[in-house]
Symmetry: C2
Subunit: 495 residues, 2 copies
């Protein structure tokens, strides 16, 4: 059964004085109006952490009431920062079941009213507990991934900096044309370089902002000009250190594979995409994971202007999470709203893409462990799917395998990647250096060192000495002294 | 498309030292084992407020990882205290879409590790904000409903007390036969009367306990001995005072209507039911709302033994939320697990019902505003549905209409119902008297009076004087003094 979109709506993203339910009602009203509906068969409501951001639960009920739709079934859906896409997927299956005809998907978050340290702490709760206790935040983990990416693909620190700046500059530029965007100003490389270091090498301009906002979509089984062609959803390990790759996300690849297969499309069929750029590098990794560019080549496409608004494959015409803003529950759905605007030619002269018959959205939940890929298409797009069609997208998915033996409490290891985190969460001293260390047994552990004040003191790929302090791994440089200590431990004990 | 159940699992409910994910994994393992599955196509995870109870978000991902099912799509679903049933419904539609074959529904909550006042505060967040700020808790609102029920159906305080005690005694008795139940001891009327008053007239033994626990069900499109016959889901106003009836729940009635219609069954076809007895009276109201007994007659059925374990229509053979325990996210699914045990004849000699071919579960989300009704049936049950079948269940649903004009800040009103709350939430003085007052304009408002120390000082249906203090309505008896004040306000002002 084909599923269609009959209406979309959005609030302006940014800092809002309105309550969350008011913002969500505003987005819903626009969508219902466009769909010419007064009632729907069900509401699927995406909010990531309304309990801690707003202090309410039972929010699905509150929204049905606020919308004057009391009686209608209303269900809250959550998949961390991909929640908006998760709610869309859930609603898609509800309509596809044939039990419902018109369904409202509604997503939002209110975040700007809290102090930043508290918001950071709440956002960090999506991180695996064992990594969170080191003080790891989302930017810190993303920074370690950025460092690893640079090392794996031979990018110098200066080159990495330039690439990341370009991603931020591009998305800010796109955002200037988006009336719903939080930031509507261009930035220069100089602005980027002046922006505060959040977690080395990621600066403030590498991170999506804290945002209030809501978005809404009506799904229907009745044909409309916009069709849902494919949806895929996949998870990955809770802990980042259990991944087999730090430079790509299995969960994007598996989700993409499902979405392409359902849609009977290949990456080369996609004309534009909204890619989850919570951190600048994630856009680049996303374009690789989605099969648009080979691994390690996404940054070249950016550099060559391919992913620019007027390039061959525009990425984040909306401005992305970076410039449109990132109300965590809403972003996954807002991406799809942007795709609908583009497909319908309603994105406004400056933002409207020329080729806009088929678009893809990729949304990341948590640190790349609950991701969704959704493909939307104009219903009038001419398609000939050859019989026996099979996808030409075959990403390498190296499934993570957790070791069953606990790593040793002390010993030598290799510093796989690290970051120096300046914007630490509530209760942690700044700066805080964090790293992933591979032990001699091949086990990856998270480790910290609060004594390093600058990332310049460390180098990836070097031996470090690992020990435990208060139940946490601490790493230090493998010096003569630690060599001696290691040697003495390794030597047979005197009886 | 028919949807079936291929496996179920549960932890023992009660106080557990295990982490929430460990409990949920235990329940999931049993269900997967019974279904002879190692993988599923998706996980739908029901947790009500894992953010505040456990301090984690992104829990759907954590569970996929804990189960060793990394990669598989995992989505968290929440509908307040009916969350387990909400997750089941969501999974039902996913399988019914034809896109998935085997789906794991997993529900749980961990609550006992927090201080009771904090748990009470967290649970209260499901209540409408405007009522919560008066200090209203779930027991307080349920108590006001109990008072109103007694008045509407002419039950003396002693009679009400006796009925409520009987519900508690019955469910505790059933619980003694349930190895998964939190409480496995019978209670006497004396025990009931000795139990502490939580919110007049509800005692500790009227309220479901605070519980840790998890439950799991595998849904499949492949035929098995247990079929899902019908599901219904409906909401009601966030605020209780906006309801047109305080003695029945529209959301149960609308959900039941949908479930009966989908199943092509009538209330008289149901052989036994699990009914959401978070408060003893809710079981009685539930049996009326579901069409088993006429409004105001549910208590008679209890008194006559009809709803007892060996009665004509056993209600809560498991012991209900009262004795099995109430891990808020898990209960809605645990009810369905009990029905499966009964349908398969696996409930154990003492608990097993004789007639167990078709069972119903009713789950309440929030204070009766996000309810689900689910009907399960043995696949081998002989059924002849006459052509042109139509339900004989036609409950009265008086849709609430919120007034558009704000109520006056002062004036005379009628005390519709009230309670004296002893177990107040964090930050409120005990005892706290709360009431619903109908203003002269016909608007219902919540009001408090911290000066009343005993419910004996008040009577329902009497005139009260309503005023505002610090933005809250306060009511007091309509005495000579308040009459004078009211009269002077009503009289033309001297210039």
């Amino acid at each position: 059964m084909d599923i269609y979109i009959s209406g979309v709506g959005m609030t302006k993203f940014g800092r809002s004085k309105d309550s969350l339910e008011k913002m969500m009602a505003e987005a819903a009203s626009s969508a219902l109006k466009e769909a010419q509906l007064e009632r729907v068969d069900a509401i699927y409501l995406g909010v990531m952490n309304v309990e801690e951001f707003v202090g309410d639960s039972n929010f699905a009920t509150l929204l049905a009431d606020t919308l004057g739709l009391t009686g209608i079934p209303s269900t809250r859906v959550e998949t961390a920062s991909s929640t908006g896409a998760g709610a869309f997927e859930t609603a898609f299956y509800a309509v596809a079941s044939g039990h419902m005809k018109h369904v409202l998907v509604l997503a939002g978050e209110k975040m700007t009213h809290l102090p930043t340290a508290k918001t950071t702490r709440i956002l960090s709760e999506v991180i695996d507990r064992s990594e969170r206790r080191y003080g790891a935040t989302m930017p810190a983990l993303a920074a370690m991934i950025a460092q690893k990416y640079a090392r794996e693909f031979n990018l110098s620190p200066l080159k990495l900096e330039d690439i990341l700046a370009q991603a931020a500059i591009k998305n800010h530029s796109n955002g200037t044309f988006n009336p719903y965007a939080q930031f509507r100003k261009t930035i220069t490389k100089e602005d980027y370089l002046k922006s505060q270091m959040v977690s080395y090498p990621l600066r403030l301009y590498d991170c999506a902002p804290i945002t209030d906002g809501a978005s809404a979509i009506i799904l229907t089984s009745e044909p409309t000009p916009i069709k849902v062609s494919g949806i895929g959803h996949a998870t990955d390990t809770a802990a980042v250190r259990h991944r087999t790759s730090f430079t790509s996300f299995n969960s994007t690849k598996e989700a993409a594979q499902k979405a392409y297969t359902m849609a009977q499309l290949n990456p080369s069929d996609i004309q534009f995409a909204e890619v989850h750029d919570a951190f600048t590098l994630f856009e680049i990794i996303g374009t690789e994971d989605l099969g648009f560019f080979p691994p390690g080549e996404g940054w070249r496409a950016l550099e060559e202007g391919i992913t620019h608004l007027r390039g061959r494959l525009p990425i984040n015409p909306s401005g992305g999470l970076k410039a449109r803003g990132h109300p965590v529950g809403a972003s996954g759905l807002a991406q799809l709203v942007e795709i609908v605007y583009q497909l319908k030619g309603e994105a406004g002269k400056k933002r409207q893409l020329e080729r806009a018959e088929i678009g893809l959205a990729q949304s990341i939940g948590g640190l790349g462990n609950n991701n969704l890929v959704t493909i939307l298409e104009r219903s009038d797009r001419k398609r000939i799917v050859k019989e026996g069609w099979s996808p030409d997208y075959h990403p390498e998915i190296r499934v993570s395998k957790k070791s069953s033996t606990p790593p040793p409490s002390e010993g030598v290891g290799i510093l796989e990647t690290f970051t120096t985190l300046y914007a630490t969460p509530e209760g942690f001293r700044s700066p805080l250096t964090l790293g992933f260390v591979k032990t001699e047994a091949g086990e990856m552990v998270m480790a910290c060192n609060p004594d390093y004040r600058s990332p310049k003191e460390l180098k990836m790929g070097k031996k470090v000495y690992l020990k435990t302090r208060e139940g946490l791994y601490v790493f230090e440089k493998f010096t003569l002294w630690s060599r001696l200590k290691h040697w003495s431990k390794g030597s047979p004990k005197s009886s």
